[in-house]
């Protein structure tokens, strides 16, 4: 069972309180983009066995979207952070490095 903390309202709850929103930090492509870029935006996913950045919504709480860094192999949560960013904040990166020294951010 996952326990997540919402960085907006600060509440900690188990997963039924939240709604999973898929991979985080996708670059959005729309009209005028190439077919490959549009496919990458819509369908291609990192799907790693290990550190994964993803979007969650505090559905039965404050209702806000936020980001979570989580390990898909152990379900360990490294931390949650604001949705208003397109990069992984430094304190989350160091929290992951502390637990997974071999981990490198994906390009």
């Amino acid at each position: 069972m996952l326990r997540l903390t919402c960085p907006v309202c600060g509440a900690t709850g188990e997963e039924t309180e939240f709604h999973a929103g898929g991979e985080a930090h996708l670059k959005r492509f729309g009209p005028g983009s190439t077919d490959e870029d549009f496919r990458d935006y819509l369908f291609q996913r990192q799907n790693p066995r290990g550190v994964h950045f993803e979007r969650w919504r505090h559905q039965y709480g404050c209702g806000k979207w936020f980001h979570v860094a989580r390990c898909t192999q152990t379900l360990e949560v490294f931390g949650s952070y604001t949705a208003q960013t397109s990069t992984v904040p430094d304190h989350i990166q160091s929290a992951i490095k502390a637990r997974r020294p071999d981990w490198e951010p994906a390009q």
């Binding site: 069972m1 997963e15 999973a20 369908f43 291609q44 066995r49 898909t72």
Partner: protein
């Protein structure tokens, strides 16, 4: 290979069963193979079998990081049906169901195929309309399926409650020649028959890297050393993303956990497979008497082979309304498998951006029923270097072209 037969049982009975052979060889990997298949689940083993049987290609290795049939092949709820909506899905799933019909004879291994019938319940008006549309599509494609009324369902399945206030049964799509089979036996049967024709099945051999040069794939690195090959086929279900990453391309796939559970064994009470897609609940009774129940998939990426408890609770809570007797059953075991969900919830069989690397993945929550047809189509592709008619619609480039195979809308859930 000694053939299994009634005579063989009698012969062995007279000599204290000392003459049985191992079902398949366990060789060390050779330095080079014509084809290397990663993943000894049902789809990988079926591919190897049809490569050898239909195309005469026997210099083949199937490498497996764990044990044969230990992934989703051994974790599913063994439902076999082909009443899909889209022509390309109907073609491959009906090919598959047809192959299941005489697979025991073909493999000389009893896979316990039981065409007991599959009932897909319609529990909303939308579902009722969708099933009617599917029934017409099936009729045009020559697949035997028909709509049945709640009264007929009540007669066929006495333990069902059709008048439930929240999930009433409004009708059903009945496929009489659908059913189930023993999942382990499907993997073991294919392994035995393929091994007998010269295919090397190498277990406990994890792929740790894919070698390639400018012209394409040249081999793989494994925990049992390097293996050279010009044709590599990735058939690893939930781990497809990890293998694709090693080979150097991305897939439109996400891996999530799907769960199932079985009850204590009871006397025969349910003689067909029932699917309730609205509530994500599937139920059938095994030959041992256990109720085999399949649930819904988790919504977040997961490689742990454990699912969330609340999904089981939702599945069982909804099933209890349709089958009140389930509330008195004790559940014995529950487990999870990692399924690879594609963007359109239909599988991928095709070439990849890396020359010489082929992929068969994305069967999501419905791969068991497709094992023979998928193996057949993938073997054709590996033999020719390009997919034939059965596999062609499932190519990877459909996501670039926007040519989706929209089954998830048809089935209300992913298969």
């Amino acid at each position: 290979m000694k053939r299994y037969s009634a005579f063989a049982i009698a012969r062995e009975a007279f000599r204290h069963h000392t003459g049985w052979e191992r079902a398949w060889r366990s060789p060390q990997p050779k330095a080079e193979y014509d084809v290397v298949i990663v993943g000894a689940g049902g789809h990988g083993l079926a591919t190897a079998y049809y490569l050898a049987k239909n195309h005469g290609i026997t210099n083949v290795a199937v490498v497996e990081k764990g044990w044969l049939g230990g992934g989703n092949t051994g974790r599913n709820t063994t439902i076999i049906r082909s009443n899909y909506l889209q022509p390309s899905s109907m073609a491959i799933f009906e090919k598959s169901r047809g192959l299941y019909e005489d697979l025991s004879q073909d493999l000389n291994y009893n896979i316990m195929f039981s065409p007991r019938g599959v009932m897909m319940l319609a529990q909303t008006e939308h579902e009722l309309r969708a099933w009617k549309r599917t029934a017409h599509a099936n009729r045009i494609a020559g697949i035997e399926s028909e709509m049945v009324t709640p009264q007929q369902i009540q007669e066929m399945i006495p333990i069902i409650q059709t008048a439930g206030p929240r999930y009433p049964v409004l009708g059903g799509l009945w496929q009489a020649r659908g059913g189930s089979a023993r999942h382990d036996a499907v993997a073991w049967g294919y392994a035995r028959a393929a091994s007998n024709m010269g295919v090397d099945i190498i277990q406990q051999c994890e792929v740790i890297g894919v070698d390639r040069d400018a012209s394409g794939v040249t081999g793989i690195q494994t925990t049992k050393g390097a293996i050279r090959t010009k044709k590599l086929c990735i058939v690893v279900a939930g781990n497809s993303g990890v293998l694709a990453d090693m080979a150097g391309f991305k897939l439109p796939v996400e891996s999530v956990a799907l769960q199932a559970l079985v009850s204590e064994p009871i006397k025969p009470a349910l003689d067909c497979v029932v699917m309730a897609n609205t509530v994500h609940g599937y139920m059938s009774q095994s030959d041992k008497g256990e109720m085999v129940i399949g649930g819904g998939a988790d919504s977040f990426n997961n490689y742990t082979q454990r699912g969330s408890f609340h999904h089981l609770e939702e599945t069982v809570r909804a099933l209890i309304e349709t089958f009140p007797m389930v509330s008195r059953l004790k559940m014995l075991r529950h487990w999870g498998g990692i399924v690879d969900m594609t963007g359109d919830r239909s599988p991928i069989i095709g070439t990849t951006p890396v020359p010489g690397v082929f992929i068969n993945c994305g069967w999501g929550t419905g791969g068991f029923k497709a094992i023979p047809g998928s193996g057949w189509a993938t073997a054709e592709m590996l033999a020719d270097g390009a997919p034939r008619a059965l596999a062609a619609p499932f190519a990877l480039d459909r996501f670039t072209q926007g040519r989706m195979i929209d089954e998830s809308v048809a089935a209300a859930v992913a298969h």
